[in-house]
């Protein structure tokens, strides 16, 4: 059983590595935020697997914190990120995308 937990955790870690590409490439802030959401969900799953593997119950509490954190961060970002773009400068990359599609 230990082998299965470890293999699944390694696989989820590979998912995080792949998601890192989306964080770095963008193109818009919303995309990066989505990839951070992926980190949160995947991290929660990894923590559940670790708690099974080591039998440490504290990891489940940490998984709970990760689950909570994802929601709060998303709300904060859409609120403040909006303000950041509304006042003055527009997002150069998102306008580029919009121009390409027209």
């Amino acid at each position: 059983m230990m082998l299965i937990y470890q293999l699944a955790a390694l696989f989820l870690m590979l998912n995080i590595v792949a998601g890192m590409a989306r964080v770095l490439r963008g193109p818009t802030t919303a995309d990066r935020l989505l990839a951070v959401q992926l980190f949160g969900t995947t991290g929660t799953a990894i923590l559940i697997l670790f708690s099974l593997q080591t039998g440490n119950k504290a990891f489940q509490d940490l998984a709970l914190i990760f689950a909570l954190l994802a929601g709060i961060l998303g709300v904060t970002f859409t609120r403040y990120g909006q303000a950041w773009y509304k006042q003055g400068a527009t997002d150069p990359e998102s306008t580029k995308v919009a121009a390409k599609e027209k």
Partner: protein, 93 residues
């Protein structure tokens, strides 16, 4: 052996995200990458068998610092807008 591979992947992603959090030109994107970095550091603490430190890192290092950075970004933007507005008024008068 498998866990060693996992640790190596974790270290690589940590280094990449730390580098780009520092060097990204757009501040908002930098903050997003910093939050991702915080989550990954929490995972690293878990791998070091320190779940209590990981809890502090996830809540403070990623959540609270991320929210603070965002709030200071919007305050910065407001201050800039106010400075530009007052400069314009000075030109007219």
């Amino acid at each position: 052996m498998i866990l060693l591979g996992l640790d190596l992947l974790l270290v690589i992603v940590l280094l990449i995200s730390a580098w780009f959090a520092l060097t990204t030109a757009d501040l908002l994107h930098g903050v997003v990458i910093f939050i991702a970095f915080g989550l990954l550091v929490a995972l690293a603490w878990v791998r070091l068998q320190a779940p209590d430190v990981a809890m502090a890192e996830a809540a403070v290092g990623s959540g609270l610092t991320g929210a603070l950075l965002l709030s200071s970004l919007s305050a910065m933007r407001r201050a800039q807008a106010r400075a530009e507005a007052s400069k314009k008024e000075g030109d007219v008068g």
